[in-house]
Symmetry: D2
Subunit: 291 residues, 4 copies
């Protein structure tokens, strides 16, 4: 039993070390007490004002994207999301318009004075992306694509990092650490649901991850209500919950005609539903620039 006690002291020592280790993370609030505010053109993410990021799952055409942009503008929203490079389970599914998509996003952003968030999937595309978009998104499937994280860490653009499909919160923070330790501290975390046994929703929204991430890190935290639920009818209630629990913003997908969308048809709102979505959320604290 003496041996046992020694073992336990060693173990305790090890845990102490781990503690220290965690303390050492640059994304940790122990390292930096005050909130990081990520500036995206005229908007600040993480400044206590709760914002909405919205747009189509995939950029399909200038017209489609412009119609969504118009709707955002109408509501006083300034953050447009849209996929140009689409990581898809099957190689035979629509893979996005690629560079063409980024160009459409840029044109629309300029015309409507919006900021653009779009996913980049390859380290070599980071540099190009910087010309066209305002925030580089790293998607759930690439959360532990460390080469991509390091490359994004060298960018001068903010990075929106999505939690991996089955990533623990600790792994998620470490993924962000890859970015910050490469030099980029403008990181926005995004909870987007985790994979569980439950089949009523596409993923299970881990709502308690929001206050945990807010406590443990100094980074802003968004909630993607579209991918976490995969159900149009759950977008509004989960968005309310996300605002109430203290998320810095919501992400949601909207498409002028979801039925013909080239991806995620079942879960995008149409423009009318989006109007109601925004109107409702304003009562729950959502900020818009509307007068």
């Amino acid at each position: 039993t003496l041996q046992h006690i020694f073992k336990e002291i060693f173990k305790a020592g090890l845990e102490l070390q781990e503690n220290d280790h965690r303390k050492a993370l640059l994304v940790s609030r122990r390292k930096k007490a005050e909130d990081t505010i990520v500036q995206v053109n005229q908007d600040s993410i993480g400044d206590g004002i709760q914002r909405l990021v919205a747009g189509p799952c995939s950029v399909e055409s200038y017209e489609q994207t412009a119609r969504v942009a118009e709707s955002l503008k109408k509501h006083g929203l300034a953050l447009l999301r849209g996929g140009a490079f689409k990581p898809r389970t099957s190689p035979y599914d629509f893979q996005g318009l690629g560079l063409e998509g980024l160009k459409i996003l840029k044109r629309v952003a300029d015309e409507y004075n919006l900021s653009v968030i779009s996913e980049i999937v390859s380290p070599k595309d980071i540099e190009t992306a910087e010309e066209y978009i305002d925030v580089i998104q790293i998607g759930a499937r690439n959360m532990q694509n460390f080469e991509l994280l390091k490359e994004a860490g060298k960018s001068n653009k903010p990075v929106l990092l999505k939690r991996g499909l089955a990533a623990t919160i600790e792994e998620f923070m470490n993924a962000a650490e890859y970015i910050i330790s490469s030099g980029n501290e403008n990181i926005i975390l995004c909870e987007r649901g985790i994979r569980t046994y439950e089949r009523a929703t596409r993923n299970t929204l881990d709502i308690s991850a929001v206050p945990i991430l807010k406590q443990e890190t100094h980074l802003p935290v968004l909630v993607d209500v579209t991918h976490s639920t995969g159900r149009r009818d759950l977008l509004l209630p989960t968005a309310k919950a996300a605002l109430a629990i203290g998320a810095d913003g919501i992400m949601a997908e909207v498409h002028p005609d979801p039925a013909v969308a080239l991806s995620d048809a079942a879960q995008q709102m149409d423009l009318e539903q989006f109007d109601q979505f925004v109107e409702q959320l304003k009562k729950y604290g959502l900020h818009t620039n509307e007068k």
Copy 2:
């Protein structure tokens, strides 16, 4: 495209089938469109007013229980929870005071004019329980203890049914169906977190289960913030989220001295924390009978 149309017809057929099956459930909203309101003495659960059910994990003594009751009373809360029969992973852990615990609950409830919710674990105890408590709780581990469900279905007391540790929403509704089809339609559902790979919380609160259950069934839905998170620091934020998403109430554990609690020491609030918890939640819509 002809092939495509056929495919769509097939798909629609399948959905129809599923629809039919689900429609048949007595707990389903398709069977009964209006909300079921469960009357618990002077309080109504499910009437659109959001309530708080609180109390110690285990009833340990008259004094401990009375102190909590006093705190509830002070805040205008009328629903006291407390465990007398405790289902514990290990046979060597404290198993609750049993009948003695029910008697303490009854005495305290009478003195403070509260209603009492307590877990029953054995079909043979249902009858006895009716003399002492107002709502029979069926715990997560017994969600598919069908003999217990059927017996509770024959009771004239309301039943609070907790979701199983790894139960799907469909299984949860079917468990409630065992109760309702045995004759008791006074059922309150309770989301209490599901088992996932994530270790930052004791369970993962499946917040989107609340709107799904509200849509699919006509039964009131509570959220147990204590067991879903297992962390005192997450009780308040998750309770806010639960209120925002439309839960009919919150369940939480409070103990006069959590450090010496015989179960769940790490996650119960003390009385001071509870005061703050209630005050905060009132701003988010929590109803109390306080003047």
Copy 3:
């Protein structure tokens, strides 16, 4: 940091205690080094000989059961399983023949000189069951129905305890501890798959649970290949794996006409498939009493 070190020592102390606690479990190999051999009439489970337990999911009639018994007999197998009390997700699904089913099992067992294993779901039925069956099965949904475990612990019949749908190995061992600490050490553990996100199989067979349980406890361990996979085409390969990894036996479902079975139609073998199953497994170490 001194404070920290103290904390860690306390924590270490706590862990030590837990260690001791685990050591204290009566099912633990630290408590009893040699294997427990469970005698079921003429057969010994856990004696190093790998056996097969087979039979229909539900007992439906004398004829159906007798035809399976005949097949077992032909192969020199002595352990018949069959469900009389069926815990079903929906109250509207076939719930088993109940006592009538136990009587059929008894009659068939006597005529064919077999031992019978059947699930009991209610504490009050344990005593009755003892008249009709040789091994009391406690099913996955009831693994933490502690009242049932304690009652089974008072029985003089062996208990086959199935792992819960999402039970950890530690919870599984503690469930067995409820039985052994109530006085019954004739316990057979049964791995039957756990609930995961994967949908290709009904559950995910946790094959490594077998060597872990064999190391940690002194109890025999079976593998239920039917419920873990839910697919007829996987019964043979998973049974081979189970034998190779050192399981004390295999459980599998066989029905004279699976297509019309009242439960689990998709996963039961017919008699011909069962013949091939047994013949194949003999080459992989399965024991039969055939000459």
Copy 4:
């Protein structure tokens, strides 16, 4: 009953649809009935002979790697694994020797006449890797790094693709489809455990994935017993199970001095344990070139 017949037709239609979809995959056995045999220098993977791939988690030095190579040679084993680019959860953990590691592997492989398998994590490194290694490994975290998959699909080297941490079998097959549809059909699949709630093992070995993948695809399937269990004491029993269920080979980690290993210290075998491991597995069907 008419309604019932319609329902069955709908169901059949749906299954047909699914069938069609799956049939289209190039990795599917419906597309190519006979087994794909992947030639790795003098060895064939998938030819019905069960092989062992072994080596250190990380290449740390020439001496360390050479000592393992010597051990492989002694046992008549020809397939050496070793990590040069290490994807690690934390950016502060040892990230591997990189190109230096590949050079060590090449030197050792030449000296001992072995084939080398090593993980590549960046599309840009695929070309370089071809000079040094024989099989390109794509790790679990990169299973849906589609850019990497496509690049590997253009390589003339075989690809060993590991299943993602929480990937479904269907997603796993689709990831392989990215490689094959880019032109490379020399793909070896590797089951390495999936993420579940169970904490007794690092991951849960999904043993039934092996027969499913063998049925659904024409590709060889290995089982990585080290990463699936994360426990040295489970390597041998799970390897036996993998051989019994029909895996085309086993992957395991061995290190001359695991206690000082720069990664995965707790789960690698030392050389003596490895000797026993190989000797035992030979009795269970493992092939070696030993005379």
